[in-house]
């Protein structure tokens, strides 16, 4: 649906167009959000505007792990209680949220900001691989956990990192790949089943 700009107010138009650029928001949703904000109290709208501004103004990438941070180091790198001898390598900052939510991992992270994807032209210089290797040299790290996605790109990235890190004499592990919780065996694909069988464990 095309909005006719001459029939609506300029500032309303502008906001609608901005909303429509967001992922998952079409013209109708943009319209609904805009008119909702028009009717909302001023304080609430200002709070939203302020939150959006500060998102860009006061965040940066952590200089150590490239997670989203509000100062030089991210909260995880700053935390003295975390185990400084292991690094968990993930593709994107959201993956840290998922891992942290489980609460089981107590070490440090490294965000690659992508995965090697030759057909999209993404190579080792487009993601933070150099930086990871730099972090590992002359450090107290004893284990690197590769937690890239179990997709073809993620697997490829993990295999490449493995090749690069092993000469440094650091233990490299990969997140287990097997059956997801709450699913049914009959739908599992060959690769998942093969890996699940290879990685089977005795019940404790």
């Amino acid at each position: 649906m095309e909005v006719n700009p001459s029939n609506t107010t300029d500032s309303v138009n502008r906001l609608m167009q901005e909303f429509a650029k967001l992922p998952g928001i079409g013209p109708k949703s943009a319209q609904r959000l805009t008119y909702y904000l028009l009717r909302t109290q001023k304080e609430q709208v200002m709070a939203l505007a302020e939150a959006i501004m500060s998102l860009k103004n006061s965040t940066r990438l952590c200089s150590c792990c490239y997670n989203i941070a509000d100062s030089e180091l991210c909260p995880i790198c700053r935390n003295d209680k975390r185990d400084k001898t292991s690094i968990c390598v993930v593709e994107q900052p959201q993956d840290i949220l998922a891992l942290e939510h489980s609460g089981i991992y107590k070490g440090l992270y490294h965000v690659l900001h992508g995965a090697i994807s030759p057909t999209d032209g993404i190579g080792i210089n487009d993601i933070k691989i150099e930086e990871l290797i730099g972090r590992l040299k002359d450090s107290e790290i004893s284990e690197v956990i590769l937690a890239t996605n179990p997709t073809l790109e993620g697997e490829q990235t993990a295999m490449y990192l493995n090749k690069m890190i092993i000469p440094l004499g650091i233990r490299v592990t990969r997140l287990a790949r097997g059956l997801p919780f709450g699913t049914e065996l009959e739908y599992a694909d060959d690769i998942t089943l093969t890996r699940a069988l290879e990685g089977r464990q005795e019940l404790k």
């Binding site: 992922p23 999209d120 190579g123 739908y187 060959d190």
Partner: protein, 253 residues
């Protein structure tokens, strides 16, 4: 007669792009429908039943439902997951290069059964054959042949004389060989040694079993690789993206 709403086909996944929150658009190469695109819903969530059967480089039986625009994948079952390829960094990279080639050289919806056979065949060979580079070369040459870009290797494309056993020139723009005399005229070309030309002809005509017994010196392999890639680049008028990665990999391994 209108086409059925639901249909089933064998397919190899040759490309995937993200769509929305958890979906993907897949490019599939099929035996009788050629290259098709389809939406796979929810395959980026861990609980998806289909995701493992629809990863890149997977040969599956796929059920599709025709849509207004794109078809939707309703079910899938792996026929061959090419696990041997996916467990090996180098092989994965080669295979990605192969599917990028197929994707770049084909148009949607044009049936090409021989090409489908070639694709299955090369992926199977990659995980079993020792000389991986040669498998790749053979595929490249056979692919060009199949697409109608068979280079002229028997005679000079300019003066039509039979080529003599000398160092001749391969000219991508002219689609074949130039004899030393015609090669002087300045059009962009590559030198090709006598042995190089022989192997090139074998790749074009011979069956794989004969070629697999060849012992190729490294320089000869490099010569052919450079030349065939230049020809492919000339035909596509752009770079194959995964080549950059193959180069990186070669340096670090």
């Amino acid at each position: 007669m209108s086409e059925p709403r639901d249909y089933k086909t064998e397919a190899i996944v040759i490309k995937k792009t993200r769509l929305g929150e958890a979906d993907r658009i897949l490019t599939l190469y099929t035996p009788h429908l050629g290259k098709i695109q389809a939406v796979a819903k929810g395959v980026r969530q861990p609980k998806s039943k289909m995701s493992g059967h629809l990863e890149l480089l997977t040969y599956s039986m796929v059920s599709l439902a025709r849509g207004k625009n794109l078809a939707t994948v309703t079910g899938s079952q792996t026929i061959n997951g090419f696990l041997g390829i996916k467990d090996d960094l180098e092989l994965t990279s080669y295979a990605l290069y192969i599917i990028e080639l197929v994707n770049q050289f084909t148009e949607d919806g044009i049936e090409d059964y021989p090409l489908f056979k070639m694709l299955v065949d090369v992926l199977e060979k990659l995980s079993t054959e020792k000389n991986r580079e040669l498998v790749l070369r053979y595929f490249e040459v056979q692919l060009l042949d199949n697409l109608g870009y068979r280079p002229q290797l028997k005679q000079c494309v300019s003066c039509r004389m039979r080529l003599k056993p000398l160092i001749n020139q391969f000219c991508p723009g002219a689609g074949g060989m130039l004899c030393p005399a015609c090669g002087k005229n300045g059009s962009f070309s590559y030198q090709l040694s006598v042995n190089g030309l022989k192997v090139f002809r074998l790749l074009q005509d011979g069956d794989y079993n004969t070629i697999s017994r060849l012992k190729m010196p490294k320089e000869l392999a490099m010569e052919l690789e450079r030349l065939i890639r230049a020809y492919i680049k000339y035909l596509l008028e752009k770079d194959i993206k995964s080549l950059a990665w193959l180069e990186t990999l070669k340096r670090c391994l």
